[in-house]
């Protein structure tokens, strides 16, 4: 039976009902395109310095102005999309896979698995997470790779907690018992019966987390961890531009900051819209 056509109809319905979701989705596509094609479409070389042209305010030639080394801010902002989104996607991907696996196991079987996973999660969450990320990067070494690992570790508890509670709620549902009566093994039940049902809340969590992961990565580079100059990344660009704010050269920090904000905003809106889309209960 055709399940694609009604799904598309539902997508159209949600989109039309909620223009904001449509806007967020469009923005998301834009960001993805930028991430992939950034280096190709940037008008100038993001690393090319030009001391003569330093600290020029926004103009037609340089829509976002130039920074203290004469580099085109617009090009740098575009190219930074790849790095920032890349870090966030990698970190969220790792923590989602490991976190949901642990959470599902803990929620379904309980017992010692639950206790251990719970302990680990609680211990990680006992730290203010940004601070923990700082500590991890400090220990492992100052590199982009370690930023990804640190962000993944501090995001893990969110996925394991959500997965655990979603599975635990449904563990004794009638259909789980019916599946046992139908001859399904525990693992099969977890994968084929429960996981499709917990996917919607997990996807909402992913989208919201992406926003947070981007903020985290930018925050870490703002204080000097991870990305090193002259690489273009939104956080480090704001950091470099911070000293020029007090003397009125606002464009160095403002534009990367605004684009950063827009990206996070997009993911947050998307998360809310995603919830409407994927929940079958909402289908008429």
């Amino acid at each position: 039976m055709n399940t694609v056509a009604p799904f598309i109809r539902h997508v159209k319905y949600v989109m039309s009902e909620n223009l904001v979701t449509l806007f967020a989705f469009g923005l998301f596509i834009g960001l993805v395109v930028l991430a992939f094609l950034g280096p190709l479409i940037a008008p100038y070389d993001p690393l090319a310095t030009n001391a003569v042209n330093a600290l020029r305010p926004p103009s037609w030639a340089h829509p976002f102005g130039t920074d203290h080394l004469g580099r085109d801010v617009f090009s740098r902002v575009i190219v930074a999309t790849q790095l920032d989104l890349g870090i966030a996607v990698a970190a969220v991907g790792i923590s989602f896979i490991i976190g949901s696996a642990l959470g599902c196991a803990a929620g379904f079987w309980g017992g010692w698995i639950d206790r251990i996973v719970g302990r680990v999660t609680d211990t990680v969450m006992a730290f203010p997470l940004f601070v923990l990320a700082m500590g991890i990067v400090a220990s492992l070494g100052n590199s982009v790779e370690n930023i990804i690992y640190a962000t993944a570790i501090i995001n893990l508890p969110f996925y394991s907690r959500v997965a655990r509670s979603e599975v635990a709620i449904r563990r004794n549902a009638g259909y789980v018992q019916a599946a046992k009566l139908s001859g399904c093994s525990d693992v099969r039940i977890l994968v084929t019966q429960l996981f499709p049902n917990i996917l919607p809340p997990m996807m909402v969590q992913i989208s919201l987390n992406m926003g947070w992961a981007i903020l985290n990565a930018a925050g870490l580079s703002f204080i000097g961890l991870g990305v090193r100059p002259p690489d273009a990344e939104w956080g480090i660009m704001v950091a470099e531009g911070a000293t020029y704010i007090v003397s009125g050269e606002w464009w160095l920090a403002m534009f990367p900051g605004l684009v950063l904000m827009l990206a996070v905003f997009c993911f947050n809106l998307l998360g809310d819209g995603l919830r409407d889309l994927v929940d079958p209960q909402r289908r008429t």
Partner: protein, 579 residues
């Protein structure tokens, strides 16, 4: 201002219509509803889900959701137009002149406020009593609703009280200020039948002694018959009939009323009676479908071999909180263990249908879980078809061939269907897993066959649970359970969540299936009347033990055990002799 005492129509509702704003436009919830209520009268509004009975009550109390609004009609309470007065004026009326009690009492009370204080709040607001006065009055109210030890219960929180006690607290809050009208919206749904009797008797007591009028909203015709003077029957937002109780039952004029009365099982009704009035809503199972798939002949019936033998079955649960309590030195070694099932034994013959009856907490669901092998017993034997099933742990049972022989139909059809699986997927699962039926054509053929057997139209197979009605979901659950030709089918309250007319059809279906497929049933329920229709023998359980067994008719008409007597007398129904 009209003269109060002389006004015969204490409450007069005329042509009331209410509309709701929904995604699909404006929906009429009730249309053209008119009725009156006299002082001291008790009127029951009866209907199935979607009839609009609750909406009527909420409209009178002006408690409708934001999306709903009355579009037409008037409602006059003692001359005051309820729909036109301002909100502050309405607030004065609520609790003082008109009050309401709801379903699901524990959720309807503030969970973090002592119950006594919740009664006090109403007293202070309306009667302007001082704090100390109010407290004394609140304790007095708790006593009036028959709550023991009212002084210390004053400080109890809702989670510390049973469902029945919570309902009584709500009643206390509602009558504290001596209102003249009380509206009860399904006040006993979810309560045990014996608790239901206590609660309804209490309401009757209080209304009579204070001269209150009452509106009782319920889906249970028997309940309305026992406690009301007049009954209003609603269907699809309209009133179809209203008459004094005796008149309604002796000569119902509207076909819907007749159908409703027929479908409500009483101690003397027969299965065929339930659906005597032809209904156009649900398609009955086709005769051809059943005979085509008859796997066993009627002669198998006469074998009367023992199919199931339960011996000394025990299930003990550890109460939560035991560990922590022990730390603090309380000696709770006995209290921390809970004997859900306490040494029960019974037999079931091939082809027989056995009823398992009891109230919540009696152990019937635990027993059925153990027999279905979803749970391991603490001790005892379950001898099925010659082998002791307790030798196989529950965890591994799903992989054994015996799995096919025992299947279950669940209570909450919605909960028992995976929201992301279509009806076809749900029915296919046991066929694929247990019978290894992987061939697509054969699978489809079998599923179509089953759908026909249970009377499920084929186009519904591709739908998801939230797109199906209660009755349709129940059929899917039944189709799934019988798909692997089990010998024993355990039915755990399969119809208690269904409307009474749908229940009638499903019960008939279950009976037909049993005869055609030669299965044996264990029918678990709290409703003795329903059990009697389908089961030859019945077992009554209380507190984990079997208190009485016997032929259904016998047990129902001549109960020997005191608990059984209590249970039977608590069932509300229409007794022509009474009036």
């Amino acid at each position: 201002m009209s003269n109060r005492t002389n006004n015969p129509s204490f409450l007069a509702v005329e042509n009331l219509s209410v509309e709701f704003k929904t995604r699909n436009g404006r929906v009429k919830a009730i249309s053209d509803v008119s009725f009156t209520l006299s002082k001291g009268e008790v009127v029951g509004i009866v209907g199935e889900s979607g009839s609009g009975k609750s909406v009527t009550a909420y409209t009178l109390m002006r408690l409708l959701d934001q999306a709903g609004a009355p579009t037409d009609g008037t409602a006059k309470f003692d001359g005051i137009s309820l729909l036109d007065i301002s909100e502050p004026e309405m607030r004065e009326l609520r609790g003082r002149e008109v009050s309401m009690i709801f379903q699901n009492p524990r959720a309807a009370l503030n969970p973090i406020r002592p119950v006594g204080k919740q009664i006090e709040d109403v007293l202070i607001k309306h009667v302007r009593a001082s704090r100390s006065n109010a407290r004394a009055k609140a304790i007095e109210m708790l006593d009036k609703v028959k709550i023991l030890d009212p002084e210390s219960r004053y400080w109890s929180y809702p989670f510390e009280l049973s469902g029945g006690m919570c309902q009584r607290v709500m009643i206390a809050i509602a009558v504290a200020c001596d209102p003249r009208l009380i509206i009860a919206d399904e006040p006993t749904t979810g309560l045990d039948v014996t608790t239901q009797k206590i609660t309804m008797d209490l309401i009757q007591d209080l209304t009579r002694s204070r001269g209150m009028s009452a509106i009782l909203i319920t889906h249970d015709l028997g309940l309305a018959a026992q406690y009301c003077d007049r009954i209003i029957v609603m269907q699809d937002g309209k009133i179809v009939e209203q008459a004094p109780v005796r008149e309604l039952f002796n000569s119902p004029s509207h076909p819907y009323t007749q159908k409703l009365i027929a479908a409500s099982p009483g101690p003397y009704s027969e299965l065929a009676d339930l659906t005597r009035i032809a209904s156009t809503k649900n398609t009955p199972p086709s005769k051809e479908g059943i005979s085509k798939s008859a796997h066993r002949t009627r002669s198998d019936f006469l074998k009367h071999e023992s199919l199931l033998s339960v011996r000394n079955l025990v299930k003990v649960f550890k109460k939560s909180g035991a560990k922590g309590a022990r730390w603090l030195g309380s000696n709770t070694s006995d209290e921390s263990l809970f004997r859900a099932v306490d040494n029960i034994s019974f037999d079931l013959k091939q082809g027989e249908s056995l009823g398992l009856v009891g109230e919540s907490g009696c152990g019937k669901s635990t027993t059925s879980s153990m027999i279905t092998r979803l749970m391991d017993p603490t001790s005892g034997q379950i001898i099925f078809d010659g082998e002791d099933l307790t030798e196989f742990p529950a965890k591994e049972f799903s992989r054994l061939p015996q799995r096919m022989k025992i299947q279950m139909v669940f209570q909450d059809a919605h909960d028992s269907l995976n929201p992301r699986y279509t009806a076809r997927d749900a029915i296919a699962e046991p066929l694929i897993r247990l019978q290894k039926l992987k061939d697509k054509q054969k699978l489809d053929a079998r599923i179509s066959e089953l759908a026909e057997q249970v009377g499920l139209p084929k186009h519904l197979l591709s739908r998801f649970p939230h797109q199906l009605s209660g009755g349709q979901k129940a059929r899917v659950g039944i189709a799934r359970a019988i798909s692997v030709n089990p010998k024993l089918l355990i039915l755990d309250e399969p119809t208690s969540a269904l409307d009474v007319s749908v229940q009638a059809v499903v019960l008939l279906l279950l009976d037909n299936l049993r005869r055609e497929l030669g299965m044996s049933y264990i029918f678990v329920s709290h409703d003795l009347n329903v059990v009697r229709l389908l089961c030859e023998r019945v077992i009554v359980m209380n507190k984990g033990q079997i208190v009485e067994t016997g032929i259904s008719d016998e047990v129902l008409r001549n109960p020997k055990n005191s608990y059984t007597c209590e249970l039977i007398s608590a069932i509300p129904h229409f007794e022509p002799a009474r009036l």
